[in-house]
């Protein structure tokens, strides 16, 4: 694994976020500063949940969506497509690319772990429960994983490349990397990187059956506890985050001050991972991470912040910690923050938090962390507010084996 060529001329000029913290970048940043998840009870009325299962999720606040999505399109969209389009509109405004901009050369790349879950559930219910002739063509159209990316393109007539990546928890950083390649290779003038997920009862219940979700236990309430000794799973989240990427020259030409700059990206795979969990390939992943940094001509000591994808998953956080230790060797690790304790897993919160943290936004200490796990030898930052970083590493190790990293610097 070598990682992408230095992407120093690719910058982020806009960010739109919809999630449990509310609508917009400011609401999201405020949530990060508060450092506590905003959780709702998941609807258990369909009966998918078993007794004792997880009950909470970071559900998106959707009351403002209709104002952001053209009504004629809104009613035809799946729930995640609505989230994605709304986040896109916010990102374009943030990037000073509102109405009147021709998006002939705008590309879109989205990442999703599960795709449109509610639509798929409804469609399967029709086909398997009522008979194949009951399948709704409208639902089928929206059941593809790329429906959100397509609806984003339809809304603003974005005619550049359009792609959706599904690589579980690594989807967001892989999408960021693909966008950087498109800009670097001249395939798109700007790229909207979207990460979107919904958290519907059936998906929530199935994740719980896989023992992926945190439950209330004798160590505390139902919460994610990234890197904690007593971590027991993640919090499912829904929402969307869209970042606007373009070249530094493009941003400068329109006098737009970027939020942050993508320095490099890299990816690897851990073949020891089983199909629905994390593996034990920390030595190999640590080597891959070191190789990525070396290729980017970045010494680990130059990294002064790590925004970790640790989610509270038992094996995932272990792999994350041991990979970082393997990569850093004898060197001390920089301060680590794990925003998924507050944002939950999925729905773009991690990408948005990582970009904002790299840009200097302060994050509260990792939610849910109380007691260090001696096996990990890594603990998230629990001290005072950190100074803005000079270089931030974002890490995403996914169940199933995929891994992705990004180096982000302030603009």
């Amino acid at each position: 694994m070598r990682g992408g060529d230095e992407s120093g001329d690719v910058v982020v000029t806009g960010l739109g976020v919809i999630g449990a913290f509310g609508t917009g970048r400011d609401a999201f940043a405020q949530g990060l500063r508060a450092g506590k998840p905003r959780l709702s009870a998941i609807d258990r009325s369909a009966g998918y949940h078993r007794p004792g299962s997880a009950r909470l999720a970071a559900l998106a606040e959707v009351s403002g969506l209709a104002a952001l999505v053209p009504p004629a399109l809104f009613r035809r969209m799946s729930p995640p497509a609505r989230l994605a389009v709304a986040a896109m509109q916010l990102a374009l405004l943030d990037a000073s690319l509102g109405s009147g901009v021709d998006h002939e050369t705008t590309g879109i790349v989205t990442g999703t772990a599960f795709g449109p879950a509610w639509v798929t559930e409804q469609l399967l219910s029709q086909i398997l429960g009522q008979g194949p002739d009951q399948a709704s063509p409208a639902l089928f159209t929206e059941s593809v994983a790329s429906a959100s990316a397509a609806q984003m393109a339809l809304t603003i007539r974005a005619r550049g490349p359009n792609q959706t990546l599904t690589q579980r928890e690594a989807s967001d950083l892989l999408a960021l990397a693909e966008a950087a390649r498109w800009i670097r290779d001249g395939r798109a003038e700007r790229v909207l990187v979207g990460v979107v997920e919904e958290s519907v009862p059936v998906l929530h219940a199935l994740l719980d059956r896989f023992h992926a979700l945190a439950r209330a236990d004798r160590f505390g309430p139902e919460e994610a506890r990234p890197f904690d000794l007593h971590r027991g799973g993640m919090l499912a989240a829904e929402g969307a985050a869209v970042a606007v990427l373009e070249s530094a020259q493009s941003a400068a030409a329109r006098s737009k001050r970027p939020l942050c700059r993508l320095v490099a990206h890299g990816a690897a795979f851990d073949p020891s991972a089983p199909a629905w969990n994390w593996g034990s390939g920390e030595a190999q992943l640590g080597h891959s991470l070191r190789t990525f940094l070396a290729r980017a001509k970045v010494s680990p000591s130059a990294i002064d912040r790590i925004v970790s994808g640790a989610s509270g998953a038992r094996r995932g956080d272990r792999l994350e910690a041991l990979t970082l230790r393997a990569a850093w060797g004898d060197r001390p690790l920089p301060p680590i923050v794990a925003p998924k304790g507050a944002t939950g897993e999925y729905g773009g919160g991690f990408l948005a938090a990582g970009l904002l943290a790299a840009a200097g936004e302060s994050l509260a200490p990792t939610a849910g962390f109380r007691e260090a796990d001696p096996e990990l030898g890594v603990a998230p930052w629990t001290g005072d507010t950190l100074a803005p970083p000079a270089l931030t590493l974002l890490t995403a190790l996914s169940s199933g084996g995929a891994a992705a990293w990004a180096l982000i610097a302030p603009a």
Partner: protein, 408 residues
Amino acid sequence: MNAPHRRAPTAIAITGMGAVSGYGEGTGALWSGLASGRTAIGAFSRFEHAAYRTQVASEAPAVAPFPSFRRLSIADRFALTAAREALAQAGLPARLDGLEVGLYFGSSTGGMFESEEYFVDLLAQPRRGAGIGRLTAQPTCSPGETVARMHGIRGPVETVASACSSATLALGNAQAALRAGEIDFALAGGSDSLCRLTYAGFNALRAIDSRACRPFRSQREGMSIGEGAAVLVLETATSAEARGARILGWLLGTGASCDAHHMTSPDPQGAGIARAVAAALDDAALSPDAIDFVNVHGTGTLHNDAAEARMLRTIFGERAAHLPLTSSKAAVGHYLGAAGAVEAVATVLCFQHGAVHPTPGDGAVDPGFGLDLVTGTPRHLPAARFALSTNLAFGGTNAAVVLGAGPA
């Protein structure tokens, strides 16, 4: 090394190919079937379908199990089978641990077929829904991850899930990573299996022909769904030359675009796919005049074929009337997320055999298109050097690749 004429400096060598199709296991079976002019679309038994609107599909024969892996989906096994063949042909070891390899896959439904079995139980008894392990292969990324796991891949692994353009887009991602020097080798391809969701869904859209599909024919009524996988081993020309690998063909250029027109219908003018083709030609540093034949998306739906016909006239002008045209989908059906991979393999096989495979399907070619559809028997084209392959998808997602012939 006998490189193709005007080869772009960043051409990517294809040194291995593998396939599972309705004709059987392997690229040999695929070519025999394609060249025969007989379609692999017909009766199928993957699932009970008497209640469905149509009764035909292209079902691949069962592939051998992989005992070291549990709970594989059919799509996983297709992918493993195709990858094994491709690696062997490329002269690469089955374990890739020591090499810089990335995997770029396309899939539309992953292990959906197996998931449906689970959901039948879950919907009947929501709280019980026994055997969650049956869902382990459900994710769209499962076929690619399974291949990576089996072969010890340690580089980037990513799955494109952009419906019917997925595998073609994955080829583009692999090409970009190779050109950037991020990896030395790429396994690029796709895998999808028949499932109730897509079969019922496309029937709900009235997009499936009740008979084997008939692309570009006047009486065409829709597509036919197929299943299978295809994998290509890609590397830089330098790498292939250094290790003395046999170059089967070249991946010369890729392009992508979005119609931004409609969720299911293509831009009727074909403008979106024309932009993707123009980008692919530009990427390959080739003019349209250099293209010797085209393996079109060619689903057999009314609107898709019409849009592609307009694209061909836009790109090739009057030459479109004389440019040999084929559609692999009429032979093996529509592999959805894997379509671009099997069609890229089919295109390279055409180069290797000096002939463009015919497009099965009865009835006259639609005279309104003014296209030269290859029908009946293979069209001998031994001097062919460059070909175009296209894919269109839900949401107006377009992708195109320009492929080149390997050394004679």
